[in-house]
Amino acid sequence: MLRLLGLSKTFYHGTTNAVSALRDIDLHLPAGQFTVLIGSNGAGKTTLFNVISGVFPPTSGRIYIDGVDVTGWPEYRRATLVGRVFQDPLLGTAASMTIAENLSLAMLRNHRFKLRPGVTSDRKQEYVGFLEPLGLGLEDRLDEPVSLLSGGQRQAMTLLMASLGGPKIMLLDEHTAALDPATVTRILEMTHRTVRENQLTTLMITHNMQQALDYGERTLMMDDGNIILDLNFDQKAEMSVMDLVDKFGEVRRKPLFEDDLLLNA
């Protein structure tokens, strides 16, 4: 579903300040696979996401989504195939607009604009069906502006919206990092369910090693622009967080000392 061939990204290319954020990455995610991506700060995780979603072009390499070469597509066009959730809950929804209006926008992902009312009673009925399973009571608040929702509720909305309108791929960039622990669990459960139900090929970035082992069918670890570890479902089932840390040291021949990663475990 998602295939990356020889993907490299160098910032300030050709200057003395050149920084290699991605080094010749080859990756294939089969359809419907839920993959978790971990790595320390500066490993290139977010750069990889930005290149896949078209925020900036790669320095070299090709990106295929569902067999189509999308390397030259601008960000907005790429978004017809890629649903995204960011770390900041404010980025995924329009605060001044109502819940129903936000959902209507998400439904437009693969449609051309038509001059027809964005929110109708038929559509609202449909949205109630989307919102009820979340168990947040949002189905009764369709006409309230999103600005009245909490961070967790907004992130749940964003997740729902990222899955609407028929995207092929879902990119989650530390989408639970700004939430409190109870909400994190709720959002992760919802993520699991959404990905399963829509058969979405998913790549989730996390800083939390335990999450990386608990969720998804495959775990990737990045460091210094390379994918240094690729664990399948059976391999990761046998691993503990400490194993993962040891593995990192083994591969890179340097210890993984990052308080953040360990404390979150």
């Binding site: 907005y76 978004a79 980025l91 329009a94 607009m97 926008l105 437009l108 929110v119 990222a162």
Partner: protein, 338 residues
């Protein structure tokens, strides 16, 4: 400190209002309302660029006289005044597209891009008109076929004293209907798929890109509509005031902004339909305040009296906008402190 400012503002407001009641004749009142409606579409245009798209655009300073220039030139050369209106809309829309392309393609800030377009439009407007002023007396405008009968109608019902008001009243009826119609279309449009996307673009452009829509396209469509409305406003206004002038657009952006800020501050609209109503009423209020300000005479110590005249309009407008913004700011700070 805050209360002193409040007290001062309220004091000035009451003073102006008392003066207004005492001094203004009915003629001035109706004139202010009429011109408020004449500029109402500019307020709507400014609302689209500044509020809906969050893409500040000053092109209306050029597209308003553009509409006037096109209408006046076409009418003087004997064409149907109603054909001039859609052509003015198209030309204004094109001016908006030019600003949008400069800002989206060349990544120049929309304020600078619109100043460039406005500068270019000054020449274009002069070229269209061929001179700096075209009088429209005794020409076939959208006003002319009805105004005579309307005046007779007013005189038979209200007596000769109302005769002076005929032009203003006619403009209120005629332009008011037109503005209402456009407002309703605007409200409907803002609730369609495209309208929703444009509003979301002003609110959160990253979200619009994440949902597969081009933000550049939104800016192009939005500024085209905005300047189309401003141009239409100019085309209508020129016909009612009886001439088109190359300088009639200068500073109109501030009038539009004043109307938007005034309307939003007073009515605090929650929905898009309420917002468009607030903005239109804001423009009428702005004209009334300006009319009131013009009737004020300030007594200075030493027996000197300074009468506020037309030359003071710009200063009065700037003070009004700053005053309303100050109230908004204080109110916001107060609600945070609570």
């Amino acid at each position: 400190m805050k209360w002193i400012v409040f007290a001062c503002l309220i004091g000035i407001g009451v003073y102006v209002f008392v003066r207004l009641l005492g001094r203004l004749s009915l003629n001035v009142w109706t004139g202010a309302v009429a011109s408020g409606l004449g500029f109402a579409l500019v307020a709507l245009a400014v609302f689209i660029s500044f509020r809906v798209l969050n893409c500040p655009d000053l092109t209306v300073d050029g597209s308003f006289p553009l509409g006037a220039a096109i209408a006046a030139s076409m009418i003087v050369s004997g064409m149907n005044p109603y054909i001039a209106l859609p052509i003015a809309v198209l030309a204004g829309g094109f001016a908006g597209v030019v600003t949008a392309l400069i800002t989206t393609r060349l990544h120049i800030h929309s304020l600078l891009a619109s100043i460039l377009t406005t500068t270019a439009l000054f020449t274009i407007n002069l070229r269209i008109m061929g001179r700096s002023n075209i009088p429209l007396l005794n020409t076939n405008t959208i006003v002319r076929p009805f105004i005579g009968e309307f005046r007779t109608f007013i005189e038979t019902f209200g007596g000769a004293s109302l005769s002076k008001l005929a032009t203003s009243l006619f403009m209120i009826l005629y332009v008011g209907t037109l503005v209402l119609l456009i407002k309703l279309i605007f409200d409907w449009f803002m609730r369609t798929d495209l309208g929703l996307s444009m509003r979301a673009m002003g609110d959160n452009p990253q979200m619009i890109r994440s949902l597969g829509k081009s933000t550049n396209m939104m800016v192009i469509i939005g500024l085209a509509i905005s300047n189309g409305l401003a141009s239409l406003s100019g085309a209508i206004y020129a016909q009612f005031q009886g001439f088109a002038d190359i300088n009639m657009g200068t500073g109109i952006i501030i009038a539009g902004l004043a109307a938007v800020i005034l309307g939003e501050t007073i009515f605090r609209p929650k929905t898009i339909a309420a917002a468009s109503t607030a903005v239109i009423i804001g423009m009428i209020l702005y004209r009334l305040v300006i009319a009131a300000a013009l009737s004020v005479a300030l007594p200075l110590p030493g027996g000197l009296i300074v009468r506020v005249g037309p030359q003071d309009i710009k200063l009065a407008t700037a003070l009004l906008v700053v005053g309303v913004l100050a109230i908004t700011h204080l109110r916001k700070r107060e609600s945070i402190e609570k």
